[in-house]
């Protein structure tokens, strides 16, 4: 009996040294083959703004080729073909109404993913803000003081709050010097209330707006 117990205890000692209780990773990643960066989570690499005044269309964009971190983002504009832009100035004409569309892309994927489509589908959890301002009135609109421009939300979510993928910009009848313009996309899952404060920032791009 005593001998047996001794054997049992020695066996416990032995097995303690070879057993581990924590769950190991059973995923296909191993040390010599790390998982590809960002192959699961979608990211946003590109934001395109298209300004349409009924006769001409101009586009501006910001591109961060691998999302946040890694390579630095840069600005560009698109008159006919893409031109790299050294600054972030958006040039608009006085006394004009522009229809503005925002397009979001994930260009890291083999087939470019149009992220703005899913933002629209999940519209009640997302909202764009301009200069971090809370839109007011009906229809929803904000007034950008520096450029005396009014931005009106044209798209609404299921709860009749603005999304901001589609907006109308009304420029003043006088030229304005460069002023600050930030465009922010907030992810506000079940906390969206039409204001800037809740949720997390998915996109925030600073631009300058000049009225010529």
């Amino acid at each position: 009996m005593k001998k047996n117990l001794k054997l049992v205890l020695l066996t416990i000692i032995f097995f303690t040294t070879v057993t581990s209780c924590l769950k190991k990773n059973n995923l296909n990643a191993n040390v010599e083959n790390p998982i590809m960066p960002e192959n699961e989570n979608e990211i946003i690499t590109t934001m395109k703004l298209t300004f349409d005044n009924g006769t001409t269309t101009i586009s501006y964009m910001f591109k961060d080729p691998d999302g946040d971190g890694g390579l630095t983002g840069f600005y560009g504009n698109l008159s006919n073909s893409l031109v790299l832009q050294s600054d972030s100035v958006i040039n608009l004409q006085t006394n004009t109404n522009y229809n503005v569309a925002i397009l979001l892309l994930d260009e890291t994927k083999t087939i470019t993913d149009t992220v703005s489509n899913s933002v629209l589908i999940e519209g009640k959890d997302h909202m764009f803000f301009f200069n971090s301002l809370n839109p007011i009135g009906n229809p929803y609109s904000v007034y950008l003081t520096g450029s005396m421009t009014t931005v009106t939300y044209l798209d609404l979510d299921a709860n009749l709050r603005g999304i901001g993928l589609s907006t109308k910009w009304q420029t003043p009848n006088m030229a304005m010097t460069k002023s600050f313009l930030s465009i922010t996309l907030k992810h506000q899952p079940s906390v969206k209330n039409g204001t800037f404060a809740p949720g997390d920032t998915d996109i925030e791009i600073p631009f300058k707006l000049k009225i010529n």
Partner: protein, 783 residues
């Protein structure tokens, strides 16, 4: 068999003879205690036995006749620690009313002749480095706190905090990779790189926590630059018994509760087997600052460990398993996105989520960490002077970090996957051979090997890597009554192979590092109550994977961090000197240190924030510089009116970056504290009742590099703490009951070394109740 049993236990048998029998009415501090140590079996007088009195900190060594004399002792109860080579440390209590002559019979020759295995003692009795121990009553006072917070009781140790639940210990201003933590003899291998990554250790496994200051690479390996923290359980019992201890602690702030139990024993029927099981559970909710609750600051922890040892005459085998699991909520307003959010957080006087109420719920952002340690050790007495041990350890660490920021896509968000997910597996083997006194020399030789693999499963931040390291060391010590000299040397080699993608291409850089470390130590004992410890040493560390390769957004830090693949080995030369002077009414302990670094690795902020699709983020680049960190820690203990004790501490530190010609960032500011304690013995049952009050003042850290930090350092602050407690004797064990208050005045403050200082005030008043219940289920010794 009984005889064997008696021999096995190196219990100290003593008889004391009463010399005089006069009772004195008033406080009498003129008593003599003379001690003679002899070999129980052959009657030889034992020279070189070290006898220390716990209460007065006096240390004597017996002369060639085995005699030692303590004089001018006050009437009272004293604890004597008897240390002799070949016997485990033994503590005896004496109630000194008159002059005593104590004869201690040690079964010394038993050990030598029959080579009976006693305990696993290292030959060094006093280290030449500066060592601070937290044990017994001091350790009791730290119960319920995290390891980092507990270590703050040691003068010179501060913490780098992320709120109140994540504390990284900092020894003399150095933390992270520069500190080595030995958990039950095994170097802790987790994800140490983040400032918000606390050590994954349950402090309840320790019956003693020691801090060794200064470079100590020879014995412990290359990373021990600033110091070593030793977490040590008691030796397992070696007499037939089942004993235990239960600790229950509650804190008002965060309504935090901790319960921990330990049970250990030695089989009566099965000679040689001893065992221990231990476990801890902890749960806390939102903590409150003086004016508001901090949302999502709960913490949960569940840990357990067990040990099973088998000892034979001259060999033994030990196994140990421990598991640590924690889930820590990160204050949601401190988990910011880009610079705009950061600026908004700095500019608001109250955090955005300050309207939160109390809750135990932990939501995003949070950390979920598990750490597992398996250890087995074999040791052998080769001859009566030579002993060897070999130990193997396996550690597995899972670290999952959940960002506040959910994936933008709701389907991905519902999966609730961690954004950062790391698995690190480490295996170590150590072989050490040591010899006891050969003439006046004793020493240690050995080697160690580490294999480590890191795998990431979430977002890329640090790469996968395989780390293979080995080291060889030798250390010898010359011991005489008034002087001890120690010389040690070590060679290490580290091979780091990393795997990560640049674009779509997998790269596999391999780096090799090797270096020599050394130390030279000396203890001078010009008088019995005056000791000087001087240690000079070098240490180094290879740049870690995150310092070399990290490239991305460190969400926990709200910044983009960039490694540098060209980083070289960091090297330090350290000199630490300590003087300990013990008088009847006053003890003085002063430590002075200087660390000279070449290629000190640190994070330097870039001039311009970086623009990403999610806005601008601050950028930090890993850089190297020559630097110095020096300072001193002083502790003065005054005893007066027999029942009072005043402990005053000061800690002064200066650090300089030579390349930038500026201060080093995140260094502790100067701090001072004073604690007054009144204590008395009521009866044989109530061995101590005490009341204690303390004030700590932390000065403002104005020695910071210019225009580097997000926000200016907060102003200095003072905190008032108090404790009332008692020790009650049950059998031969002590029950401890204490009521504590920290931040008694509910002071509003922010600490420079707390990352949450950017966002919120620190924790307010916290009332704690602590109970320690010892258990003796069965003990053959007592029968």
């Amino acid at each position: 068999m009984n005889n064997y049993f008696n021999k096995y236990v190196c219990v100290l048998l003593f008889n004391y003879l009463l010399i005089s029998n006069t009772l004195s009415a008033q406080i009498d501090c003129n008593k003599n205690l003379s001690i003679r140590v002899i070999d129980r079996d052959n009657g030889n007088e034992l020279e070189g036995t070290i006898i220390s009195i716990n209460e007065t900190k006096q240390i004597n060594t017996t002369n060639e006749h085995g005699n030692s004399l303590f004089n001018k002792l006050c009437i009272g109860t004293y604890k004597l620690l008897i240390q002799h080579l070949g016997c485990p440390d033994t503590i005896i209590s004496i109630d000194l009313k008159k002059d005593y002559k104590l004869v201690i019979k040690l079964p010394h020759s038993n050990y030598v002749l029959s080579q009976i295995e006693i305990t696993d003692k290292q030959p060094d009795i006093i280290k030449t480095q500066t060592v601070y121990d937290l044990k017994e009553k001091e350790l009791d006072q730290t119960r319920g706190k995290s390891l980092g917070e507990a270590l703050k009781f040691v003068n010179g140790v501060t913490t780098l905090n992320t709120g109140s639940s994540i504390s990284k210990p900092m020894i003399n201003g150095m933390q992270g990779y520069r500190i080595l933590i030995l958990n039950n003899g095994i170097k802790q291998e987790g994800q140490q790189w983040g400032n918000e990554h606390a050590p994954e250790i349950d402090p309840f496994i320790a019956q003693k926590i020691s801090v060794i200051k200064g470079a100590n690479a020879v014995r412990y390996g290359s990373d021990a630059m600033a110091g070593v923290v030793l977490i040590e359980p008691n030796n397992l019992p070696d007499t037939a018994s089942v004993t235990g201890e239960i600790n229950v602690i509650g804190f008002s702030n965060g309504r935090l509760g901790v319960a921990s139990g330990i049970l250990e024993g030695y089989f009566d029927k099965l000679k040689g087997f001893s065992w221990r099981i231990q476990g801890t559970v902890k749960k806390g909710g939102n903590i409150n600052s003086p004016n508001y609750y901090l949302k999502n600051t709960g913490v949960q922890e569940s840990n357990f460990s067990y040990a099973l040892n088998y000892h034979r005459k001259n060999w033994g085998i030990e196994t140990y398993y421990s598991q640590f699991n924690t889930k820590i909520g990160i204050f949601s307003s401190a988990h910011v996105g880009n610079l705009t959010d950061l600026q908004a957080a700095f500019n608001s006087s109250k955090p955005q989520d300050s309207l939160a109420s109390f809750s135990y719920d932990i939501a995003r952002p949070y950390q979920d960490i598990s750490h597992e340690l398996i250890k087995s050790k074999f040791h052998l007495h080769i001859t009566n002077k030579w002993k060897a041990f070999v130990q193997y350890a396996y550690q597995y660490n899972i670290r999952k970090e959940y960002d506040k920021h959910l994936p933008r896509n709701n389907l991905l968000a519902e999966l609730n996957k961690p954004e950062l997910d790391y698995r690190i597996t480490s295996q170590t083997i150590d072989l050490i051979i040591e010899h006891l006194n050969i003439k006046s020399f004793r020493g240690q030789f050995g080697g160690s090997y580490l294999n480590q693999q890191n795998v990431y499963l979430g977002r890329f931040f640090i790469p996968n890597y395989i780390n293979n390291s080995w080291g060889l060391f030798a250390s010898e010590r010359f011991v005489k009554q008034h002087i001890e000299v120690e010389v040690g040397i070590r060679y290490d080699q580290k091979k780091l192979k990393s795997f990560y993608y640049i674009g779509n291409n997998l790269v596999k850089p391999e780096l090799n590092f090797n270096n020599l470390s050394w130390n030279l130590g000396c203890i001078l004992k010009p008088k019995k109550n005056l000791n000087f410890f001087i240690n000079i040493g070098s240490a180094w560390r290879a740049p870690a994977a995150n310092e070399l390769y990290s490239n991305g957004l460190h969400q926990g830090a709200g910044a983009i961090e960039r490694g540098d693949t060209n980083l070289k080995t960091e090297q330090v030369y350290n000199i630490t000197g300590t003087g300990v002077y013990q008088l009847k009414k006053i003890d003085i302990e002063l430590t002075i240190y200087h660390n000279q670094f070449t290629n000190f690795i640190y994070m330097e902020p870039a001039n311009e924030p970086e623009l990403t699709i999610r806005g601008a983020f601050p950028v930090f680049n890993y850089k190297q510089t020559n630097a110095r960190i020096s300072g001193f820690d002083v502790k003065i203990t005054n005893r007066f009116f027999n029942h009072f004790q005043l402990m005053s501490k000061a800690m002064i530190l200066r650090a300089w970056n030579y390349t930038a010609n500026d201060y080093l960032i995140y260094m502790p500011s100067d701090r001072y504290s004073a604690d007054l304690k009144a204590h008395t013995k009521i009866s044989k049952k109530v061995t101590e009742i005490y009341i204690q009050g303390g004030y700590q003042y932390i000065t403002k850290q104005w020695r910071v590099p210019v225009n580097v930090d997000f926000a200016n350092p907060p102003k200095g602050y003072g905190l008032l703490n108090a404790e009332i407690g008692t020790y009650l004797k049950f059998g031969n064990q002590q029950l401890n009951l204490a009521l504590t208050v920290t931040n008694l005045l509910n002071t509003v403050y922010r600490d420079y070394l707390d990352r949450f200082r950017y966002f919120t005030d620190a924790q307010g008043r916290n009332i704690g109740l602590r109970i320690k219940i010892p258990l003796t289920i069965y003990d053959k010794k007592i029968k």
